[in-house]
């Protein structure tokens, strides 16, 4: 097939690249420096939470613990005091779970239906409501505290778990609706039409066709909501009562009430314990998160 199918003099094969090329040094150098900035606080938290108070007072905060102690963790979990209750974070953990599960489910359910309706069942005015929601993203929610108190009171939901779930659903709605809307817009219209020809109605298409396809964006929505709701302090404390105060209330109490000296190690342990649920989710589902964002956030 060639006049002379043999190798000639000169370079052949892959272009030689030095592993320590300037490009790589800059690339990995920058990344590592940045990674240091991002990882440092976590490192400080972990290290501090494993030190005893004397060691904290003496040494610098970046030094690894000389003597590892799990005392602060135990204390943060089950002994730290808030007012007269000294049972640590454990009090709020199950409350947080109880708040989290229905809130995440309901907020995602509502937002996904919104997004679905906005992308596939547009009706006159639907975009207007969507625009209002999007402006809602920018309203500082402190402003809403009293009106919502009044609203919940009128609904008879004030102080109950469901009132809080409703609040989370409302405040999660703008961003999640945006994500779902963008995602469902990218689902081919033809699929939707095919299902209509097949006689499926609004809910039939939603449950049988759209939801099963929405996995990537569901993951994103779930991650965002779990993080947001788990970390929420203000709503949890304003719209409920002590029996169902979330874990963050205890965290706030531990962190913000100082008994003599600040027990940094206990604070850090409490912080880590509180962040454990969202952190775990991030560490596990990072890849899905990126993929889902690509599917839902970038277009539209």
């Amino acid at each position: 097939m060639t006049d002379a199918a043999r190798l000639l003099d000169g370079p052949r094969g892959p272009k030689p690249t030095r592993r320590l090329s300037r490009r790589n040094i800059i690339l990995y150098g920058t990344l590592s420096v940045m990674a240091l900035y991002y990882a440092l606080p976590l490192y400080v938290m972990v290290v501090t939470s494993l030190k005893g108070m004397p060691e904290i007072r003496m040494g610098n905060i970046f030094a690894p613990p000389v003597e590892i102690t799990f005392e602060p963790w135990v204390k943060a979990w089950s002994e730290a005091c808030t007012g007269i209750n000294c049972d640590g974070l454990s009090r709020g953990f199950w409350n947080s779970v109880q708040i989290l599960v229905p809130s995440v489910i309901l907020s995602i359910a509502v937002a996904s239906v919104n997004g679905y309706a906005l992308s596939k069942w547009r009706f006159p005015g639907s975009e207007v409501f969507f625009t209002i929601l999007m402006i809602g993203v920018f309203i500082p929610y402190q402003v809403m505290i009293y009106p919502i108190v009044i609203l919940l009171r009128e609904l008879g939901l004030y102080g109950s778990l469901w009132g809080l779930v409703l609040v989370h659903t409302i405040f999660g709605m703008p961003l999640l609706t945006l994500l779902f809307r963008n995602y469902f817009t990218s689902v081919p219209d033809e699929l939707f039409k095919a299902a209509r020809v097949d006689g499926a109605g609004f809910w039939g298409i939603y449950f049988r066709i759209m939801l099963p396809m929405a996995l990537p964006i569901l993951v994103v929505a779930m991650i965002l909501q779990v993080t947001g709701i788990w970390n929420d302090f203000l709503f949890g404390v304003i719209y409920t009562k002590p029996e169902i105060y979330p874990m963050t209330v205890q965290l706030n109490n531990i962190v913000n009430s100082v008994q003599g000296v600040k027990e940094y190690n206990v604070n850090m342990a409490a912080t880590l314990l509180t962040g454990l649920v969202p952190l775990t989710i991030y560490f596990i589902s990072g890849k899905l998160f990126v993929r889902g964002i690509a599917a839902g956030a970038v277009k539209g």
């Binding site: 033809e190 039409k193 020809v197 097949d198 006689g199 499926a200 049988r208």
Partner: protein
């Protein structure tokens, strides 16, 4: 009885008038192809028939029932989409039975119908697979099956082949044709590929700007295009057009005076007009004999296409192409003698562009 009748259909998207006062009757068992360039409103029309778009004005009848305001699933239509739109998370069986389940049909009957459709389409071994694991052709069959199980009167196809590569497209075209012969339902088929239109259609409706330009059999459209747009649109490479003037049996163009006896004029045969000649109707060699129009032309470009060769020249001062046998030996800058049979040509009025 008409299978589908459309009366004074208007469809506007806001200010954009996509369909305007469109009327159309489709016979029972007919294979009608809607052909037109992109954006001319073919899909829109199909969606109106299917009930997926609310019409702005007008009426739609299917089997003489006014379905204008019915739900898609109640109209007795089945639809096959460009990308097939199979439900990706359901098996083939699930895809086929979805519509029936929605209609709350008894389990036993669903099974029977799915089995029957699978048999007709020869997809029995695939029933448990998901669409992702099917080839393009198999997917198409499933998509058709989805309409088939629902025992519909009218099949609607929206460019079901345009996503496929040339080879598969040719195969599936034949399959659809065979299926139509077997089922003899009414089929309305949207495409912008004229080969598809020509091979499949009983009648073709050529659309432009939301209106139907010509509705006729493929042969009629090919041989006697109703206006210049249709003439230009149909045929590849497309028709040669020569601008000139008609007067008593002669056509003057670019300084040449052509004798056009033999052309069957339907109306007045004078005034500014356009002569259309298909590249494949230009004669060379032996076939020249007896043709009233003949000329020597210089070859400018040769496009060999395997079975034939396309030759680009200038005739009467205008760009002109013709087709020769693939084995013909022509070179650029050769001179070649060509001839035109007026009986195979078309004349169009210059102003209205309608066939004369």
């Amino acid at each position: 009885m008409h299978s589908v009748s459309i009366r004074s259909l208007d469809l506007h998207f806001g200010a954009v008038k996509v369909l305007q006062n469109l009327d159309l009757d489709i016979h029972d068992g007919e294979f009608l192809v809607l052909l037109g360039s992109s954006g001319c409103g073919k899909s829109t029309l199909l969606n109106c028939i299917a009930g997926l778009l609310d019409v702005t004005d007008g009426q739609i009848f299917i089997k003489d029932r006014n379905v204008t305001w019915m739900e898609p699933s109640e109209r007795g239509i089945g639809m096959v989409f460009q990308s097939y739109a199979l439900y990706p998370q359901m098996t083939v069986e699930g895809n086929l039975s979805f519509g029936l389940k929605n209609a709350r049909m008894p389990r036993a009957e669903i099974d029977e119908r799915v089995a029957r459709a699978a048999r007709i389409l020869q997809i029995e071994p695939l029933l448990k697979r998901k669409p992702g694991a099917l080839s393009g052709g198999q997917r198409q069959r499933v998509a058709i099956g989805r309409a088939l199980v629902r025992d519909v009167d009218v099949f609607l196809f929206d460019e079901p082949l345009s996503n496929l590569d040339a080879k598969l497209r040719a195969d599936l075209r034949v399959e659809i044709k065979r299926l139509h012969q077997k089922l003899s339902n009414t089929m309305i088929y949207v495409t912008h590929d004229q080969v598809e239109a020509m091979t499949l259609a009983d009648r073709i409706a050529i659309m432009k700007g939301g209106q139907i330009m010509q509705l006729a059999t493929p042969a009629e459209i090919y041989n006697r295009p109703g206006n210049k747009y249709v003439a230009d649109f149909i045929g590849s490479p497309s028709m040669n057009f020569l601008e000139g003037d008609l007067s008593d049996g002669h056509f003057t163009t670019g300084g040449e005076n052509l004798d056009i006896t033999g052309y069957p004029f339907e109306g007045p045969a004078t005034g500014a007009a356009t002569l259309g000649v298909r590249p494949e109707h230009v004669a060379t060699g032996h076939d020249l004999q007896g043709l009233p129009i003949q000329a020597e032309v210089a070859v400018e470009l040769v496009e060999p296409m395997g079975s034939d060769t396309l030759v680009w020249t200038t005739f009467a001062g205008q760009s002109f192409r013709f087709r020769m046998d693939g084995q013909a030996e022509v070179r650029e800058r050769d001179t070649i003698r060509i001839g035109i049979d007026p009986a195979k040509a078309s004349f169009f009025d210059k102003a209205s562009e309608l066939r004369l």
